[in-house]
């Protein structure tokens, strides 16, 4: 654990810990070794600059500043420690009291803590310094009490987090008293973060102490800590800068040692390292079908998307004509959404997109995407899955729509706004003029999705890519949104690429369906063939898994056994083989290519000719 923690700490953390050890050792031994030297007054050497004998020079009385800084370590660290201990104890008591006291009293104290926390530490320290008086003792009390509210707040937060857990409830039911619950159950569970915070607070206390002493409110002569030395040194900064700089450096280094060590420990406790897998040899791009037809609105050939260590889309080819609706269906992780994003050129680094062909309206989209900004901005519309998060929460909806034509068609503000209102009413948002001036959170989920679609049709799109546009919506709202997409498609002859995990919806909306599995298209078939004439065992299993009115409700719901393969670790042969009832040795050794069958159909399966009853493909109804 310690070694692992150290490794995670990194060079910065290790040096912080080393520095911390040095500070503590110095605090212990420095006065024993250098005390005399530090106090030796030498009238012959007043205010000398740094030299061999005096590395940091001498002060007004000819005393060695470096020795004084070293000796002052004990007082500086010791007082800060005292103040921290006091602050932590007081904070802990107050914070824990809120947990022990009843709800109302606890809330009052909580409010008081919150108010105090709003004031900076130094102001609180000054306030308490007035009450406790000037001097080391007063400063310890002042800084201690100034630290307390922050600690009380943290204790309170942590304790209320623990208080909700089951074992506390169990203890309470078992009749354990409040105080005992606090000491036996709550405190041990929040000790770790508290210790870390205390270490960081220690760094803050050192700085606060230096501040007070520097102001003359802390340690009084003839005692000295770093703050006092710094204040004295500052008087002579013109003649003798080292006198101010060396104590200053000492304060900063020591404070940083405590701060960083605390954070290092926090990180070692809290964070888990994330490992990134490595990408094996990329599989040779699967040979695909001949080129899609030439008059296509969208033509994609051998599209691949890869991220470091994984290739979630492995050679997708598809085409789409004007006015056509094509669906992509597959389980989550099948690469369907990434395919959509890749086509729209919205994959960001470290993701990489390659394709032998990626044409939209006859324009090659490969290469620098900014060259196609206008075309994509006006002719390609995207509708995303979650309308709750896809609109900018702090901008008026109308403005977010208007932006499209303002950017790409240089429309003036008023024209753009009018268009936005017009489009909002086109997507059946009632009272569009008023709604345009509202923020997204004033819209319902369905309205937001319609607004997203409205945004897509601000210009004159030739293609709408809708990525699970109805998944986050109610069933009733789903229908409206689907109907809206259909209307737009037929009214303006717009192509639709519809991505969904729901094979039924895709079948209703689209003319053609592409079934994706593990980053590849495994079947391309007309929607009309989906129910009865699918060839790929996976497609058939998907269809069969959908319950309908005739499904026997006494049987468990049908599922496809197993899970999709990890895209980081794909099998050699057909990716579906492990879950396929038809799988043979050939399937496990050779990946089937996506072969064209009769017009418009493609399938990637060695057993595509085999007809097997749907029902035997899925679990549940077998048993």
């Amino acid at each position: 654990m310690a070694a692992r923690g150290l490794r995670r700490a990194g060079p910065l953390g290790i040096s912080a810990l080393a520095l911390l050890v040095l500070v503590i050792v110095l605090a212990l031994v420095a006065p024993l070794i250098w005390q005399q030297r530090a106090d030796a007054i030498n009238a012959a050497e007043i205010l000398r600059g740094p030299s061999g004998a005096h590395p940091a020079g001498t002060d007004l009385l000819g005393r060695d500043i470096f020795a004084r800084v070293l000796v002052a370590t004990r007082l500086s660290v010791g007082l800060a420690l005292l103040a921290t201990v006091l602050g932590v104890t007081a904070g802990l008591l107050v914070g824990a009291t809120t947990a022990v006291l009843g709800r109302r009293a606890g809330r009052w104290i909580g409010t008081l803590i919150n108010i105090t926390v709003a004031f900076p530490n130094l102001l609180l320290a000054l306030f308490f310094a007035v009450i406790f008086g000037v001097g080391a003792k007063g400063a310890v009390l002042a800084i201690g009490f100034a630290t307390a509210p922050g600690f009380a707040r943290i204790t309170q937060t942590l304790a209320s987090g623990v208080a909700g857990r089951d074992f506390i409830a169990a203890a309470r039911i078992a009749g354990v008293g409040r105080f005992r619950i606090l000491t036996r159950h709550v405190l041990p569970n929040i000790a770790e973060p508290l210790v870390v915070t205390a270490t960081i607070a220690m760094g803050g206390a050192m700085l606060a102490f230096a501040s007070l002493s520097f102001l003359g409110l802390g340690v009084q002569a003839p005692s000295y800590d770093w703050g006092r030395l710094l204040g004295e040194g500052l008087q002579q900064i013109y003649i003798h800068p080292a006198g101010a700089l060396i104590p200053g450096l000492a304060v900063v280094l020591a404070a940083m040692a405590f701060n960083l060590s605390g954070e290092v420990v926090a990180r070692a406790i809290g964070l888990r390292s994330t490992s990134t897998g490595t990408l094996g040899d990329p599989p040779p791009p699967a040979p695909s079908d001949p080129m899609p037809e030439a008059d296509a609105l969208l033509a994609v050939h051998n599209l691949q998307v890869s991220f470091p260590g994984v290739r979630p889309v492995r050679g997708v080819s598809l085409s789409l004509r004007r006015g056509e609706a094509v669906g992509i269906v597959g389980e989550s992780g099948s690469g369907k959404s990434l395919t959509a994003l890749a086509i729209a050129r919205l994959i960001e680094p470290p993701g990489e997109v390659t394709a032998d062909r990626l044409e939209f309206l006859g324009e090659d989209l490969r290469g620098d995407v900014s060259a196609h900004r206008r075309l994509l901005g006006t002719s390609l519309a995207m509708v995303f899955q979650d309308p709750m998060t896809s609109l900018n929460p702090v901008q008026r909806v109308g403005r977010q729509l208007a932006e499209v034509v303002r950017t790409h068609q240089r429309a003036d503000r008023r024209t753009a706004w009018a268009r936005a209102v017009d489009r909002l009413s086109a997507v059946r948002i009632a009272d569009a003029a008023k709604r345009a001036g509202q923020l997204p959170h004033e819209f319902s989920g369905g309205m937001r999705q319609r607004a997203m679609i409205g945004m897509g049709v601000m210009a004159n799109p030739a293609l709408v890519i809708a990525d699970e546009p109805t998944t986050a919506l109610d069933v009733t709202v789903q229908k409206q949104v689907l109907q809206l997409l259909q209307n737009i498609r037929s009214a303006e002859n717009v192509g639709l690429l519809f991505i969904s995990h729901d094979v039924t919806v895709v079948g209703q909306v689209c003319e053609r369906v592409l079934v994706m599995y593990a980053g590849r298209i495994v079947e391309d078939l007309p929607a009309s063939a989906l129910r009865e004439h699918a060839r790929h065992p996976y497609t058939r299993a998907l269809v069969a898994a959908v319950p309908d009115m005739e499904t026997d409700r006494n049987l468990p719901l049908a599922v496809i056994p197993g899970r999709p393969p990890d895209p980081r670790d794909l099998p050699v042969g057909c990716a579906f083989a492990a879950r396929c009832p038809l799988a043979t040795d050939r399937c496990r050794e050779e990946d089937p290519p996506l072969d064209s069958l009769e017009t418009g159909r493609r399938v990637a399966c060695w057993h595509a000719e085999q007809t097997v009853p749907h029902l035997s493909l899925i679990k549940g109804e077998q048993s």
């Binding site: 709003a118 530490n121 130094l122 710094l230 900064i237 304060v251 404070a255 470290p350 901008q395």
Partner: protein, 300 residues
């Protein structure tokens, strides 16, 4: 509002929480008893506590903060003479911190996103941690050494021409600038992954618009919330920086009056600082409401 009441009560209680007699403490152990009694009576210290409290509140409403024990001048006069230069310094430093941190943090986020430029990111984070740890008055000492002693470009102390503002303001602003820049960076990195930023990109807006108009306002909400606390401590930082630069502001007054045990002055100045902090919080809340129309003004 509640905070203000707590603050006022605390300032009132401060004097009464003092061990011993504040008048005795201020006048010194050798002062004759008659003088002390007279002064006590003049200050109303012999009245019952609740009466004193009501008097105190009443006086506050009329802007009367009492009489300074050392100078004999009304505390409100002492404060108003020095208030301006402290506010000047704090506001300038705040402005510098915002002007530096927001572009810097945004730039860092844009440059390092998707794990690019790791070395640069590490350097920025380390440097900002170090710079943010250095307290204002040490920063001040370092800057004085560099720019006044070594280079001789800027005056070492005092408040005269525009160049005398540079070092005090910088010493106050550098730390918060980097802390804020780090917050902006982290927030921007989170926001840039948000769905609505993807929507903005899907609209093919220029990068500049995506970053500045869609991402930044969303990043600023959290930044402001966290930054508010930081700005509060900036108010406190002026106390130290003023002492380094012999700045004729409230910082010198409060330290001087604490040392001289001039409690009415201390009380008044503490009150002013406290109100300053509360004001900063209020401004942050209002700014939040402007940037993010969803959030309503929280009750303090």
């Amino acid at each position: 509002m509640l905070s203000l009441l707590v603050l006022v009560t605390a300032a009132f209680a401060m004097i009464h929480a003092l061990p011993g007699d504040p008048v005795r403490a201020a006048l010194g152990p050798t002062a004759p008893i008659e003088l002390i009694n007279a002064r006590r009576a003049a200050m109303g210290l012999d009245d019952p506590l609740w009466l004193q409290y009501l008097h105190y509140l009443g006086n506050l409403f009329t802007g009367d903060l009492g009489i300074s024990m050392t100078s004999g001048l009304p505390v409100s006069d002492v404060i108003s003479a020095r208030f301006g230069s402290t506010v000047e310094m704090a506001v300038l430093a705040f402005a510098v911190a915002v002007v530096v941190s927001v572009p810097l943090g945004t730039l860092m986020a844009v440059l390092v996103r998707h794990g690019r430029r790791r070395a640069g990111d590490f350097a920025f984070t380390s440097a900002s941690v170090v710079l943010a740890t250095i307290p204002e008055f040490l920063m001040a000492v370092g800057l004085v050494f560099l720019f006044s002693v070594q280079l001789g470009w800027l005056p070492v102390a005092g408040r005269s021409g525009p160049d005398s503002y540079v070092l005090p303001v910088l010493s106050l602003a550098i730390g918060p600038s980097f802390v804020l820049a780090r917050i902006v960076r982290v927030e921007m990195l989170t926001v840039l992954e948000a769905d609505y930023v993807r929507t903005a990109r899907a609209k093919r807006l220029p990068d500049r618009v995506v970053y500045l108009r869609h991402a930044l306002p969303n990043a600023l909400t959290t930044t402001l919330t966290l930054g508010g606390l930081l700005l509060g401590s900036l108010v406190a930082g002026t106390v130290l920086v003023e002492n380094v630069f012999a700045w004729p502001g409230l910082g010198g007054t409060i330290v001087g009056s604490i040392l001289a045990k001039d409690y009415p002055t201390v009380q008044g100045v503490v009150l002013v600082y406290g109100v300053g902090v509360l004001l900063v919080n209020l401004v942050v809340d209002v700014a939040l409401a402007v940037v993010d129309p969803r959030s309503t003004i929280r009750e303090s």
